[in-house]
């Protein structure tokens, strides 16, 4: 197993990452640089290539070109070493419908080789935190969307990953759980972990993330710390305005449908 190089200050880097679906380049030469210990928001309009990028980074899709290093390891040469160090909450949540919440955590713990005591204490903490203890014996198929999201997040956190990939973690989550998850992610990053998340809720990203990358039509159009992006815009714009400028959805695209009179 290749050990990650501790000298590298980046949790994740890609060079010219590409993924084609036939003629369509869903991800087109993306160069990502995610520093360790940061909360990195990966933004883009629908169909821009966010989920495809995450799938390439987590090994669910094979890139058509380019290179990647995750926690200093090449995931194409040593996928298992990367998977032992990262936690993922993908778009479809990746859960067995017919396992209970507790069984899902046990499955993940067993796959990661956690001993019984560690598995028990971590599961208890995570289920309590996610307010899922009472429902831990119910099948995941009986969970609400928010509960499914929370158990998927608990499963991603259970092995103690160094890097978390979260695809739309706040979608369908109530305000209380959302606050808990934000606190949890801050604590995770405070202890040296790295979070790479996608979200459509720009207010959350603005408050939560220290670094941002914006993808549009498969290409990375901006990347850096939030502060540097604000400085580059010169007008003290907020993230939403910067984002709209970057993806080309300005005021000229306001619809003129007069029949929408109310």
């Amino acid at each position: 197993m290749t050990e990650p190089s501790e000298s590298v200050g980046l949790a994740l880097e890609t060079h010219g990452l590409r993924r084609n679906f036939g003629e369509l380049a869903a991800v087109d030469g993306v160069d990502l640089s995610v520093p360790r210990g940061t909360l990195y928001g990966f933004l883009g309009p629908n169909g821009a290539g966010k989920s495809t990028t995450i799938k390439c980074l987590t090994g669910l899709l094979r890139p058509s070109g380019g290179t990647m290093r995750i926690l200093g390891i090449d995931p194409e040469n040593n996928p298992l070493a990367v998977k032992r160090r990262v936690g993922v909450v993908p778009e479809d949540l990746a859960l067995f419908d017919r396992l209970t919440g507790a069984e899902t955590l046990t499955f993940v713990g067993k796959v990661h080789g956690l001993d019984k005591a560690t598995l028990r204490s971590r599961s208890k903490e995570l289920l309590d935190l996610m307010d899922l203890t009472a429902a831990s014996d119910n099948l995941v198929s009986d969970y609400s969307h928010g509960m499914r999201k929370k158990i998927a997040l608990a499963a991603a956190l259970l092995p103690g990953p160094h890097l978390l990939f979260l695809d739309e973690p706040f979608e369908g989550i109530d305000a209380v759980a959302s606050r808990q998850i934000k606190d949890l992610l801050h604590a995770f990053v405070g202890r040296g972990g790295t979070v790479f998340l996608t979200s459509h809720i720009l207010e959350i990203v603005e408050r939560l993330c220290s670094h941002v990358g914006v993808i549009a039509r498969g290409k990375l159009v901006a990347q850096g710390s939030l502060q540097s992006l604000r400085q580059a815009s010169h007008d003290g714009k907020n993230l939403e305005e910067i984002f709209l400028d970057l993806v080309g959805a300005g005021e000229d695209r306001i619809p003129q449908m007069e029949w929408l009179s109310g």
Partner: protein
């Protein structure tokens, strides 16, 4: 009317879009999907001539019945049989469809500006698309046309009203049962219990005729009874073929017919054709009452299903945060976790439960039938080692019932497969874990079956009994890699909560799997038969089977490596298919 047209258009588009290719599939996946779509297209092409034929049959019957002839009883026997089958289908088909997860999802229409009454009417009209209703509609509506051609105008009018009555009744009944099933099946746990009970009842009902024939009183026909009948026929030729006299239609309305609408229709048609249109009104009135009553109840239930929110069973209290998760000997943590997860998933599916419970029942019934008439099934009247043969059948059936799991072992995990792919599980651990799960499942199904066989008929050589577990192991050793290879090549998105088609592997994989099963059984059967019948030594049969098991395990190991490489190449596609894309 507008709503009905919109609903018809919606269903048409859904059908057409099913055939459209999607960008995310590779060539193999597109070909495999196309093969699956061909079957309904062929069915549709056969269906149109069948409707025309049914209409022609109805018209011919309508033309024939008002005239004097010899076959009125025969025509009504056919009509009554068809009506009984239709009635049974209207009752059972929606229940079976619901047990497969096909309940009308009407709640999505609630957001549209469509009155509930219109939705109900369009739901009833959709029932006419069902093949059996369409066939009956063609036949029953053209029957009065035949009567008109035969000159029986008033009879044709009552027959037409009766046709409308029975069609409205059957479509209403189907909608009513379908709506009731929706109410019952919309909660997962309740649906699974109902499905299990329904399937177990149907399976038990299918055993009944065999058991009743075997254990019920047997009325044997005397050898010369047939000859006596033939002689009587020769003495008075044509006696039974006199044209039916007027009044052949019998009593206008026996009391029992009130409870059975198909008989009301049959009586009404018979009286109409028998030039007794006035008497035909007597069964027609209750038939129309039945139809209105069923629609009144059906519409009420339909409104209820739309107006009541989704319900769910009470949640179970959490018992603990870590559940027992045994580590299987000889396997890594990861492979063991994959195996245990797979076994749990199968045992939690309705199909898994049914297969586990029914296999010993099948062996028991087969054994009882066989022991009651041992010589019926033995060539030349020799006695056979019934217990051993039943045990062999148990192993074979256990392998066959495992098809759904073994031949679609990756895609059946659905989103869980993505979790496995995201976890640090190597291809080897994945393949070994799935194979171990398959072995546990075969053992869990074949062992109770063998036990039943042994208790029922314990005779036969001990060596042959001892060779059975080895035979099962050898068979599974060859099927496990074949299953993994076919699962990687021909994945099919399934729903473990449903039964039959919804939970079957790809049909090409099924055929290849069945052939594989037969080929894998060949050497075992050949070696055992050779030792017993040629060398007359059951002990040698045990030795041969043990040796073959060793060889099969070696072959299996090399084939599992091939499956491993294939899995590595197909991961991306498997993940997409498992997500239902």
């Amino acid at each position: 009317m507008h709503t009905a047209v919109v609903m018809a258009w919606l269903r048409w588009r859904l059908l057409v879009n099913l055939l459209r290719p999607t960008k995310r599939r590779d060539a193999l996946e597109r070909a495999s999907r196309a093969i699956q779509v061909i079957a309904p297209v062929i069915f549709f092409l056969i269906f149109i001539p069948a409707v025309i034929l049914a209409g022609f049959g109805g018209g011919l019957a309508g033309w024939y019945l008002p005239q004097s002839g010899n076959f009125h009883s025969a025509v009504f026997l056919v009509l009554r049989t068809i009506l009984s089958v239709e009635f049974l289908l209207a009752l059972l088909a929606p229940l079976l469809r619901a047990s497969q997860g096909f309940t009308p999802n009407v709640s999505r229409f609630l957001l549209l500006p469509i009155p509930v009454r219109d939705l109900y009417v369009s739901e009833v009209l959709v029932a006419f698309v069902n093949p059996w209703v369409a066939l009956l509609a063609a036949g029953s509506l053209l029957l009065p046309v035949g009567m008109v051609l035969a000159g029986e105008l008033s009879g044709a009018c009552t027959a037409l009203a009766a046709a409308a009555g029975i069609l409205v009744l059957l479509t209403g009944l189907e909608t009513l049962v379908s709506t009731s099933a929706s109410l019952l099946f919309r909660d997962r746990r309740r649906a699974e219990i109902a499905t299990f009970v329904l399937m177990a009842s149907l399976a038990a009902a299918s055993f009944l005729p065999g058991l009743l024939t075997t254990f019920g009183p047997v009325k044997r026909r005397l050898p010369d009874e047939k000859k006596i009948e033939l002689k009587a026929e020769q003495r008075s030729p044509g006696k039974s073929k006199q044209p039916e006299p007027p009044g052949w239609s019998g009593k206008p309305l026996p009391l029992w017919a009130l409870a059975y609408p198909p008989e009301l229709y049959a009586r009404c048609v018979a009286l109409s054709a028998d030039h007794r249109s006035g008497a035909a009104l007597l069964p027609l009135a209750p038939l129309l009452l039945w139809a209105s009553g069923i629609h009144w109840i059906g519409a009420g239930l339909y409104r209820r299903i739309l107006e009541t929110p989704e319900v769910s069973s009470p949640r179970r209290r959490g018992r603990g945060v870590v559940v027992p998760w045994p580590r299987l000997p000889g396997l890594s943590d990861a492979a063991s976790a994959v195996a245990v997860a797979q076994v749990r998933l199968v045992f939690r599916s309705v199909q898994g439960k049914i297969q586990f419970c029914i296999l010993p029942m099948v062996i028991l019934v087969m054994g009882l039938l066989w022991l009651r008439h041992p010589k019926d099934l033995a060539p030349g009247g020799h006695s056979l080692p019934v217990g051993l043969l039943l045990a062999v059948a148990g192993i074979f059936f256990a392998m066959m019932t495992l098809e759904g799991t073994l031949l679609n072992q990756f895609a059946m995990d659905r989103a869980g497969l993505t979790l496995e792919f995201l976890s640090p599980i190597s291809d080897r651990d994945m393949i070994l874990g799935k194979a171990a799960a398959g072995a546990l499942l075969v053992a869990s199904r074949s062992f109770p079956a063998m036990l039943v066989a042994a208790l029922l008929a314990p005779g036969g050589s001990v060596f042959l009994w001892l060779s059975l577990p080895f035979a099962a192991l050898a068979l599974f050793a060859l099927m496990a890699p074949l299953g993994a290879i076919l699962s990687a090549l021909l994945p099919r998105p399934v729903d473990p909560g449903k039964i039959t088609k919804q939970n079957q592997p790809h049909f090409v994989a099924s055929i290849l799997g069945m052939l594989g099963n037969l080929f894998a059984m060949g050497p075992i059967a050949g070696l055992a038969a050779g030792a017993v019948f040629l060398l007359e030594s059951p002990a040698l049969a045990l030795v041969f089977v043990v040796l073959w098991t060793g060889i099969a395990l070696l072959i299996s190991l090399s084939l599992l490596r091939l499956a491993e490489r294939l899995l590595a190449q197909r991961r991306e596609n498997l993940a997409l298919v498992a997500q239902g894309r």
